[in-house]
């Protein structure tokens, strides 16, 4: 056990050491030291059992959560990614104009890594034949590249050369990429096979902390609160940098009227969706469980059981996609079978109903399993005693079985609610949050907070990480409060206090 830890530590330290990353080496040494201490000391028995899981928990849950918290108070988004220096370099490089004495490079468009979807990189061959790799951070020598006599690079270690079709698909990115190559100069593409180095028309002056446009003479002054260069008339340059904005992201929920109304709408539907799903799967699952729960001989009980849990055992992501296809308005199964012409995902209420049906279909077998287990654990004598005392079947169920059942199932119901509150797949793989009102492409009728957040963070209209992080903190608070309150009320946490 300790030998294994030492071996992993050695393996982990080596690349860090050779790269000179001393903070990384320190972290590995500290963690290894902790492991050795815990397992060599005779005391701290609980720690011996907790350390392995906790290490993973800290590394891959807590640190990302803390990072998200710290992002939520910044303006981290497209155009506000890096430091101010990087922003200045980018501004200067992207304003590069071609002049008659510009150096020309032979350009090969490539992606970083082994897949063509990676970060865009320019592989450049200078007139003297030397090869470079350039991205938004700058220019680096490129050793080991295979260069044809015409200057084209056909292969380079660590990069994937994009075939023309791929390059074509990313042409906007290619036109937009500017490689800083020195102070006031940058390299831009001209078509897919040549690039030129030129002088920028926008130059930074550290004295006034401003950027001057040589062509128009306009001056953009750095605004360190907003992380952007702003001109007198309010125009700002597209490239900014990342700054702290305090609680501004959180205040947007309350102050921005557009966001506030769509946010409240989404929150309402989100609660209705989670509560509706939980209530319906509980009702259906319990109904099936009660139907099969009898002491009398019941032919086919096992067969029914197995068949009814089939939806739960099917891969759920595929089932969402399947249902999406079944609801398809043109050639979906439902419309064809029922002879309807309903555009299920086109109207808010049919789309909501569709999402609920799909989610209930997937969820009720699990609830059936749990309810069966809970029913079996309730002593029959209790129900019999109630019946002897004169209670009817419904009364006995209502007064004896159901309360006992609720005690057993409350934690599972709360967990179901919390899970469905953030059930990303259920919405994203079916409606993708749509249909969208014509005036607001960001908030759809079936959007949950989590799909809405996802669209903000990774959607097509530019990434707004800071705002998305604030939203996820908010979701976190809502779910936590609701779960803790309801769990406390169900008193199932009593054991913790023992």
């Amino acid at each position: 056990m300790l030998g294994l830890a030492a071996a992993v530590a050695l393996w982990a330290v080596f690349p860090l050491y050779s790269a000179g990353n001393w903070a990384g080496v320190g972290a590995v040494v500290a963690v290894t030291g902790l492991i050795f201490y815990v397992y060599l000391s005779k005391r701290a028995v609980p720690a011996k059992y907790l350390v392995p899981g906790t290490l993973f928990l800290v590394a891959f849950q807590i640190i990302p959560v803390l990072y998200t918290l710290s992002t939520s108070v910044t303006n981290y988004s497209d155009g506000h990614r890096g430091t101010k220096e990087e922003a200045v370099e980018q501004i200067e490089a992207s304003s590069v104009q071609r002049s008659p004495d510009s150096t020309s490079y032979t350009l090969t468009v490539a992606a970083r890594g082994s897949a063509p979807g990676g970060e865009l990189v320019f592989l450049l061959t200078a007139p003297d034949g030397s090869a470079y790799a350039g991205d938004a951070q700058g220019l680096q020598p490129l050793p080991g590249a295979t260069v044809t006599p015409s200057g084209k690079i056909t292969a380079a270690p660590g990069y994937t050369v994009l075939p023309p079709s791929q390059a074509n698909a990313r042409s906007e990115e290619i036109t937009g990429l500017a490689v800083p190559s020195g102070s006031g100069t940058g390299i831009r593409s001209s078509g897919f096979s040549t690039a030129y180095e030129g002088r920028s028309t926008l130059t930074y002056d550290a004295g006034c902390d401003c950027i001057t446009d040589a062509e128009t003479g306009r001056v953009y002054t750095a605004d360190d609160e907003r992380g952007a260069f702003v001109a007198d008339n309010g125009d700002r340059l597209p490239q900014g940098w990342r700054v702290g904005v305090g609680m501004a992201n959180f205040a947007r929920f309350l102050t921005d009227p557009d966001i506030r109304s769509s946010f409240l709408g989404i929150l309402t539907w989100n609660i209705a969706f989670a509560a509706g799903t939980t209530a319906m799967v509980f009702a259906l699952g319990l109904c099936v469980a009660l139907t099969l729960h009898t002491r009398e001989h019941f032919t086919g009980r096992t067969a029914y059981r197995l068949l009814v849990v089939l939806p739960y055992a099917m891969p759920s992501f595929a089932m969402f996609l399947l249902w999406r296809s079944m609801f398809n308005s043109d050639f979906g199964l439902l419309n064809r079978m029922l002879g309807l012409d309903t555009d299920w995902f086109g109207e808010p209420w049919t789309a909501r109903a569709a999402v609920l049906i799909v989610n209930i279909w997937l969820g009720f077998p699990y609830m059936f399993l749990v309810a069966t287990g809970a029913l079996q654990s309730i002593p029959r004598e209790l129900v019999q005693a109630a019946r002897i005392d004169g209670a009817g079947a419904w009364q006995a169920f209502r007064q004896v079985t159901l309360p006992l059942l609720m005690v057993a199932m409350a934690p599972i119901l709360v967990a179901t609610f919390a899970f469905n509150f953030n059930n990303f797949n259920a919405v994203w793989l079916t409606t993708e949050g749509g249909p969208f009102p014509t005036d607001n492409p960001m908030a759809g009728a079936t959007d949950l907070l989590i799909t809405y957040t996802y669209r903000l963070a990774f959607g097509a209209s530019g990434a707004q990480y800071g705002y998305a992080a604030a939203l996820s903190v908010f979701i976190f608070l809502i779910v936590t409060v609701m779960s803790v309150v309801s769990l406390r009320r169900s008193a199932s946490l009593e054991e913790v206090h023992r």
């Binding site: 990384g24 028995v45 990302p64 891969p315 996609l321 797949n425």
Partner: protein
Amino acid sequence: MARSAAAKAPARHGRAHPLSLWARRTGWRHLVMLVFLVFALFPILFVVSAALNPLGTLSSSTLVPRSAGLQNFLQLLGGTHFGRWYANSLLIAMANAAATVFLSALAAYVFSRFRFAGRRLGLYGLLVIQMFPQFLAIVAIYLMFSTVSDYWPAVGFNTPWGLMLVYLGGALSINTWLMKGFFDTIPAALDESAQVDGATHAQAFFRIMLPLVTPVLAVVGLLVFIATVNEFLIASVFLRDPEAKTVAVGLYGMVADQRDANFGMFSAGTLLLAVPVLSVFWFLQRYIAEGLTSGAVKG
């Protein structure tokens, strides 16, 4: 009371209304179950029929197959990386389920049997941290693994091991609660007496406790297995190489833009993926009801 007395009366006197008796006792149960089965099974029937549909398009698929053939399966196995995706999915899901069960059982044992400073905080903390939608931290995880990929490509992007590390971050979770509840139902006298007899705490855990809590281990393993097979979002960020994908990522890519045309292959892939899930389910089903609720009932 009156109703059930009436129901019993004919049986007692042996009078001949066997059909109405059957209808009253179990017939309605069959009727109710039939309705539920139709609801539960018709989408599955549709997948089967679409997978066998030789044309392989959504618009030509019907609930009951008009003709059957294995073209979709052959095309899926021959024309795509499905074999690799399948192996990746199973490897990741099984390894993750095993590791999660182990890590979680270790923690649950401590929470159930030991009293130490920070125990309550730890238990509540586990519950609360899980409420944070992990994939929204994906920006952080992405940046983290960009660095990891540079230093240790063996656990970086496009490897099953890197993805597993991230999944293991969720090893201690609501599952630990589930296990702890079950551990609590095992009398402490059992492992205490073993320790009195000279067993170490590790021996008490591995030799006495683990065999007694098999149902809950099986259930947690099953839940984690199913969740991992279905995990789509983090996997889609992690696995970009066509050969490194899992079935979830691969099949999604298949129907994302070509939904109608690839529908047959998609259905075939779904059925193939359902096979291991169903077999795990089959083997573990006798534990499921017991493992899920006995911890909670005790409350």
